[in-house]
Symmetry: C2
Subunit: 117 residues, 2 copies
């Protein structure tokens, strides 16, 4: 049964970084919340765009030869095939959308498990 999903309540259950947790499904995509702090590896997704919405704090998206600050209330969509690196000096909270089963690193061997909360 459908019901409202409170992002802050879900984020309060997460104490780790770079560890997306699935909170909803949309047409074969997983809607996730995650906390970022530090640097993620540069990576790319061959077959999918990568959707980020910063909910709290600020991250930086390194992409090609530029660094984009992405602040709370801002979206950044990384097109498929584009190498990128999210990073954040201080902890920030992010909503992610990726197709179900897509590795967060673009590589199943190094990907997080994406538990459902």
């Amino acid at each position: 049964m459908s019901h409202p999903i409170n992002l802050a309540e879900k984020l309060a259950q997460i104490s780790t970084h770079w560890d997306p947790h699935v909170i909803a499904d949309y047409n074969g995509n997983e809607v996730m919340v995650v906390k970022f702090q530090g640097e993620f590896p540069f990576h790319l997704h061959e077959e999918t765009d990568d959707f980020f919405l910063v909910l709290k704090g600020e991250m930086v998206m390194d992409i090609e030869d530029r660094s984009h600050p992405v602040r709370a209330g801002e979206i950044f969509v990384v097109p498929k095939g584009v190498t990128h690196r999210p990073r954040s000096e201080h902890e920030c909270e992010v909503l992610l959308i990726e197709p179900k089963g897509e590795p967060n690193t673009g590589d199943a061997a190094t990907a997080a498990s994406k538990p459902r909360i």
Copy 2:
């Protein structure tokens, strides 16, 4: 070129209600912002889920035999084929995601035009 998209700046350009504006693309979906006030018609989308994230204010999602308040910071995903009606006594601001070309009413004859901003 990818760049951060500020939701409040986009919403400041919208003065109408029930009039989604496209702000980004994700894998063949349109990411939109919209202002709701009053009642939308009951409708359904035969082939797609319908993604709502309330950014500011509060809406109610009438779905089947229940009414769900959905507040700022909350997501509601209406599964495909399920009849629903968003409504809001006071103006509220919402992020929507639907496949490109999907009519917002579920019916091309009555749909809004979804301009890009």
